[in-house]
């Protein structure tokens, strides 16, 4: 048995931890001498982009590396015990009592063939309690994590619950053993903004009650800012900066941290106020050989010493360290992008809509039920304008996009017009001109580009089909397109698998623009990308719009991103348009109660608290939407029977600002500036 744990032992201590993976016969370094301590009750955030090794650190702390991974050197002490020296039985005991984990995608982390109750009770049976005792304690635990009907949930299977509900179950399981260390690996990445904030609130509340220390892993600075006391910034398997959260975010002392903070569209940043800054280059491949400072290749302040000598973790005052020779000059990192705002052509367009829909409706027939995905939607999109489309998942955003593109056929009576001419419901019935005019950029570039084709062939094919050019004329257009999306022509012969996420999305954008489209639908184009690459793509979209006058229908669940790019914003709920107006008017009061709740869920990078509005209950199903105003079952500003009985019209409450609510603009402005919303009684 290892030495008795010291009284004030750290929950987790990593000491110069080196981890490597064996890929096709060679060992690749993933963690390069990571050291960190998490004191008892402390919440430590580990932030970094994909491939920097943060999940590896988490699993190393549980000694659960995949078969081809190994700890090359360094020490791991969990709750005072030396993890690496332990026997398998001891590791199992540790996992059963001391350490637990919450995973990224909750639904797949639960066994599809076993009921929820059984899986939660299992945590208790391991610690020796009897079957029914475990059952009771499981129900208690589920109540603790604010699950309204624990007995009902226990009988159900994971696929019958929403992502948010499953994550609560996993948190219940994790906290059931009252662990010394709770590890959360990107717990809310896959969830909607509203659900995300609920889960984060739950974790914060639980921490107080269970006094476990927390290792919180995320790629999102806002989430870390909100949840953690101290933070470590990881890049290419090495901690480059560490310190108290406020310190690190307000006074970043490493170029990478500085660059990261500049990439995030926060605090109301907008394209016409100033371009987002980016970090040049790519994230290094898994286990790449990096001499000297790991960030040297992409750092604006790099000097010879950086490439020769690996900087140590230097102390920069009040418990804040940075691994940079020139940490004091970090914040003067030169901008990569010129801060000049992107002047948009939209302003001087003559305002005639190039694309409009009138009472667009779409009903799906599943297992005999009629599911109304989109209901009576009327929208217009002006020349060179960006219309942001927001709403929780399942609100019908993507269906609307597929309807406009002709990938899904709308119901009878739906009208879609392009430049005044009726657009056929099915893509195959549209002529080449109409096909060229409306294109799309998908969310996941890996799936959107045929992985067997070279980049050249992908773009060339789009040019041939949409524009009909061939031979040298096509080649030169291809070169121009590549330049316009800042894609290095020398890589034109590569296949998608060999390119980074950002580069692939640039190819997808080039393909969309091959036919000089009038409208491009962007369906969450940046949510699959890393933060630093995200900014570059947003800037690119903005520049292309400015240059070519293309209108965007921009779909995203990240309101910061939407705010940065959109001129006007439409808010969707259960397939209906709830609010439509200019970006700034929608983002400020008065707002439709649903929009108000949506915005309150968005954490601010600067960590300033904002009155949180929690939406009760689950999103109702499209199959049988609630009567009257569809939002009345969850609306924090529920007036009374009128909301339940009468569906409000989408009316223009202010010039250019419409919403679907019984309140008038003045009433809501006054309400929203004073009284925080609270619900007298829950809807029937």
């Amino acid at each position: 048995m290892s030495a008795a744990p010291a009284a004030t032992a750290h929950a987790l201590e990593l000491d110069a931890l080196e981890v490597a993976y064996r890929v096709r016969g060679q060992w690749r370094r993933v963690l390069r001498g990571v050291s960190l301590q998490i004191a008892e009750g402390e919440s430590y955030g580990l932030v970094g982009e994909s491939g920097c090794g943060k999940s590896t650190a988490a699993f190393a702390a549980l000694r659960y590396l995949p078969r081809n991974g190994r700890v090359s050197s360094g020490g791991i002490r969990v709750a005072g015990e030396d993890l690496l020296a332990m026997s398998d039985a001891d590791v199992r005991r540790l996992r059963a009592t001391k350490v637990s984990m919450v995973y990224q995608n909750p639904t797949s982390a639960l066994n599809p063939a076993i009921r929820i109750g059984e899986q939660v009770a299992e945590v208790f049976t391991i610690q020796g309690s009897s079957e029914d005792e475990a059952g009771d304690r499981a129900r208690e635990m589920l109540e603790k994590v604010q699950i309204s009907d624990p007995a009902g949930v226990m009988r159900r299977y994971p696929h019958q619950l929403s992502g948010g509900m499953n994550q609560r179950v996993i948190i219940a399981m994790a906290l059931a053993k009252d662990p010394a260390l709770l590890i959360l690996d990107e717990p809310t990445t896959g969830l909607d903004a509203t659900v995300e904030s609920e889960v984060l609130d739950l974790v914060a509340a639980m921490r107080k009650e269970f006094s476990s220390s927390v290792l919180f892993i995320s790629h999102s600075l806002e989430v870390i800012a909100r949840m953690c006391d101290r933070v470590g910034v990881l890049y290419a398997g090495r901690v480059v900066e560490e310190g108290p959260v406020g310190e690190v975010f307000d006074n970043p002392r490493h170029p990478y941290a500085v660059g990261l903070l500049r990439c995030i569209p926060r605090g109301g940043a907008r394209k016409d106020k100033g371009r987002l800054d980016t970090i040049p280059g790519f994230l290094p491949g898994l286990g790449a050989e990096l001499a000297g400072c790991v960030f040297a290749d992409r750092c604006g302040l790099v000097q010879d010493i950086c490439r020769e000598k690996e900087p140590d973790l230097l102390d920069v005052g009040n418990d804040h360290t940075s691994r940079c020779h020139f940490h004091e000059k970090a914040q003067s990192l030169p901008r990569v992008e010129s801060p000049a705002p992107v002047k948009s052509e939209a302003a001087d367009g003559d305002g005639t809509p190039i694309l409009l829909t009138r009472n667009m409706r779409k009903t799906f027939h599943q297992d005999g039920h009629d599911v109304r995905a989109v209901e009576d939607l009327t929208l217009e999109l002006g020349e060179g304008e960006t219309l942001g489309l927001v709403g929780e998942s399942g609100s019908g955003k993507t269906t609307l996009a597929r309807l406009l593109l002709g990938l899904t056929e709308p119901d009878e009576g739906s009208i879609v017009e392009l430049d005044g001419r009726q657009l056929a419901g099915k893509i195959s019935k549209r002529d080449r001109e109409q096909v060229r005019a409306v294109q799309i950029v998908f969310q996941n570039p890996d799936a959107a580009l045929n992985r067997r084709f070279s980049i050249h062939r992908i773009i060339a094919r789009a040019l041939t089909m949409l524009v009909g050019t061939k031979g040298t004329a096509m080649e030169s257009r291809l070169q121009d397109l590549a330049h316009s999306v800042r894609f290095d022509v020398r890589l034109i012969r590569q296949r998608p698998a060999q390119l980074s996420g950002g580069l692939k999305q640039r190819v997808a954008i080039a393909r969309a623009f091959a036919g000089e489209p009038r409208v491009v639908v962007c369906d969450e184009p940046t949510s699959a990308l890393d933060v630093s690459v995200q900014a570059a793509i947003l800037n690119l979209l903005a520049e292309l719009q400015a240059e070519k006058g293309t209108a965007y229908l921009f779909i995203s669940h990240d309101l910061g991103v939407v705010r940065y790019l959109s001129d006007r914003i439409a808010v969707l709920y259960l397939g209906r348009l709830m609010e439509l107006g200019d970006a700034e008017t929608v983002f400020g009061p008065p707002q439709h109660p649903y929009t108000e709740a949506l915005l309150s869920a968005v954490p601010q990078a600067d960590g300033k608290p904002r009155p949180r509005i929690r939406l009760e209950g689950e999103i109702p199903s499209h199959a049988d939407p609630p009567s009257g105003c569809v939002f009345h079952t969850r609306c924090p500003r529920y007036i009374g029977d009128i909301c339940r009985d009468e569906e409000p019209e989408l009316k223009e409450v202010e010039p250019g600002h419409h919403w679907r609510c019984h309140y008038s603009a003045e009433e809501l402005r006054e309400l929203q500036q004073t009284a925080p919303p609270q619900r007298e009684e829950s809807a029937p």
Partner: protein, 317 residues
């Protein structure tokens, strides 16, 4: 669940109808006619025509097919032209024989191959894993008649401990019948083992790599419990479907084994019916094999949805 089964039944009926049409069209190709095949080539043409007339083999094949379909609907599959006995009787005995052999092979191979597959998956990459999957796969591909010849050579002729043919003397007890069926059953075991083991192994590996297994391990459960409670339930699902597809082979596809071991199964009845152009017997025989195959796949799908709640509840909601 009922809707799901109902839909599958209708689809199966359509497949059966297609099956009967394919066999009907196919059998046009066979030379000669029943009368000629019974009386042989040297019989007088007059006698052949008279016999054909008697047996009703002279009617146009379209009307024969319609009669047959009419009969099937009233569960009377007509008489075998060659044996002049109701088809049910001729096929009944053959089906019982085939079922006995198939059952014995089934009881031996299913547990063996699933255990083998799971064992190999748990030691993925080790020599034992390669041995089982490679050995199984090779055994599957070696023709069943090669296994039959080798087994007879060793166990019946050299060692003399097992009979060389499969039909036990009449009225022999259960164990004697099993003793006679051991050799042919093992030919089937060799052929089926690799096929099922490979699927069980793939299913288990997939389940082992799944997130829920990781959750179970990090909960601190010992490996045995993780495998028993979390992995097996999900890994055996694909195996069930594979086992079902083999039922068709187990019942109708054993002509070679039946020939070598002189065993009167469905395979031989169909083979002789095709050669003698005994239309009702051939058609009904293929139908029975078709029904066995479709019922097996239907049962597999039902079992799959019962064991896999996501599929089961999707139907009910």
């Amino acid at each position: 669940m009922a809707g799901f089964i109902g839909k599958r039944l209708v689809l199966s009926l359509i497949t059966l109808l297609l099956l009967s049409i394919i066999v009907f069209v196919g059998s046009q190709v066979l030379p000669g006619d029943v009368g000629r095949n019974i009386l042989g080539p040297f019989a007088d043409q007059q006698a052949v025509d008279a016999l054909n007339e008697q047996l009703g083999a002279n009617e146009s094949l379209i009307s024969q097919y319609l009669d047959w379909i009419g009969g099937v609907l009233t569960l009377d599959m007509g008489d075998s032209l060659a044996f002049r006995r109701p088809v049910q009787e001729v096929l009944g005995d053959a089906l019982v024989n085939s079922a006995k052999l198939a059952l014995l092979a089934f009881i031996i191979v299913v547990p063996l191959s699933i255990a083998g597959g799971v064992y190999a998956a748990l030691r993925e990459g080790s020599t034992r894993d390669r041995l089982i999957s490679l050995g199984g796969l090779s055994a599957t591909a070696v023709p069943d008649f090669v296994w039959a010849v080798l087994l007879i050579l060793v166990f019946s002729l050299v060692l003399g401990i097992l009979p060389a043919t499969a039909t036990a003397p009449p009225e022999s007890g259960f164990f004697t019948q099993v003793e006679y069926l051991i050799l042919p059953a093992f030919c089937l075991v060799f052929v089926l083992f690799g096929y099922i083991a490979r699927m069980a192994r793939a299913g288990t590996i997939e389940a082992l790599d799944a997130d829920y297994t990781r959750t179970a391990v990090i909960k601190g459960l010992p490996q045995r419990t993780v495998v028993r409670r979390h992995v097996l339930r999900n890994s055996l699902l694909p195996t069930i479907a594979v086992i079902a597809t083999q039922c068709g082979y187990l019942i109708g596809g054993l002509l070679v084994i039946e020939t070598i071991f002189n065993y009167q199964g469905i395979g031989q009845s169909l083979f002789r019916a095709a050669q003698e152009k005994d239309f009702p017997l051939l058609q009904s025989g293929v139908m029975i094999v078709g029904i066995v195959y479709l019922v097996a796949t239907l049962l597999a799908d039902i079992a799959y949805s019962v064991l896999n709640p996501r599929v089961r509840l999707a139907q009910e909601s």
